[in-house]
Symmetry: C2
Subunit: 206 residues, 2 copies
Amino acid sequence: MERTDIPAAPALKPGRGRRPADDVRRAALAAAAELLLAEGMPSVTFAKVAARAGISKMTLYKWWSSPGGLAFEAYFRVFEQTLAFPDTGDIRRDLTGQLHAFVDLVNRHGAVLAGIIGAAQSDPDLAEALSAQYVRKRRRLAVDRLARAQEAGQIRGDADLETIVDQLWGACYHRLLMPALPLDTEFADRLIANLFTGIAPRTRSA
Amino acid sequence: MERTDIPAAPALKPGRGRRPADDVRRAALAAAAELLLAEGMPSVTFAKVAARAGISKMTLYKWWSSPGGLAFEAYFRVFEQTLAFPDTGDIRRDLTGQLHAFVDLVNRHGAVLAGIIGAAQSDPDLAEALSAQYVRKRRRLAVDRLARAQEAGQIRGDADLETIVDQLWGACYHRLLMPALPLDTEFADRLIANLFTGIAPRTRSA
């Protein structure tokens, strides 16, 4: 149980021969994600993940110092896969699709995310992991897509793109973390309508 | 220490006569707020608050079941007093002033607020208190001011006012709770600029 410094090419599992390390790692993350989304954070144990993925617990210890670290990585992997930023060439349509997917995912599995963000407020290590592995990555992907739209003339040249991230996804996190009103696809549509059209009356917007 | 069911008109403190209950309550909250903002949440004890406010600990036990409850109420009282929603008749100027005050307050004392919001994610009682005593109250005050601006023709009739709350203050909470970029008055100005003008190019906004 204390062996954390295992050589690079372990063959701990007898039987069907060595699987490439990337495959094993992917299988572990997939198994952890399935457990996490089906049964919640406490269900992610090294024993359960190892059994489900067909790998040894030793292999898990090699990569993750705790089941929490494995669950954390698995969770954000799911978010990344579900929340791609499409580029059909129409920014408003792409943002609508992406925000609908985001709202759906948060409604199904947002309690785990809210718990992680909540715990990060009093846990500097978790805050750093959340920032590096999730917050900053997601911001960068969003701003990249918004920048292409700005170059294509679909977003005003003087609009601040980082601020748009806070006014779309940040507004959703507000309803998740400080709940008062529904976080649904209608809300996502209103976020986009307010922000694209502007809330000033037309006669004043020139 | 166990007496929590004290009659309505206590005269527990000898000397300068009875102070009206409202005065005593206000003094307790003011003292708790001073301690909280100067020295942090753990400094708010019944003994310290009683000494600073010139009242008895018994009086505090009458109103608050724990120092945490007293600190919580005191904290949001400070926020309420600092974060009035002015009405000069110019919504954009009023929002700018209010958001600047909000950002300044959050930058000075936001760690306590972030801690409360964080803890609320795994504490249903705290979540309920936060929702009732802070989130819903603040939303209502903001929407009231925005509704007057809409009636005055300073906000489009089809703009969703509740959504504006998420896109201004909610966007600030996003930078507080999932930090990546500064939460400052320049950010507040960009929030307002994006939202009032709209981020769509002018030729498409008609």
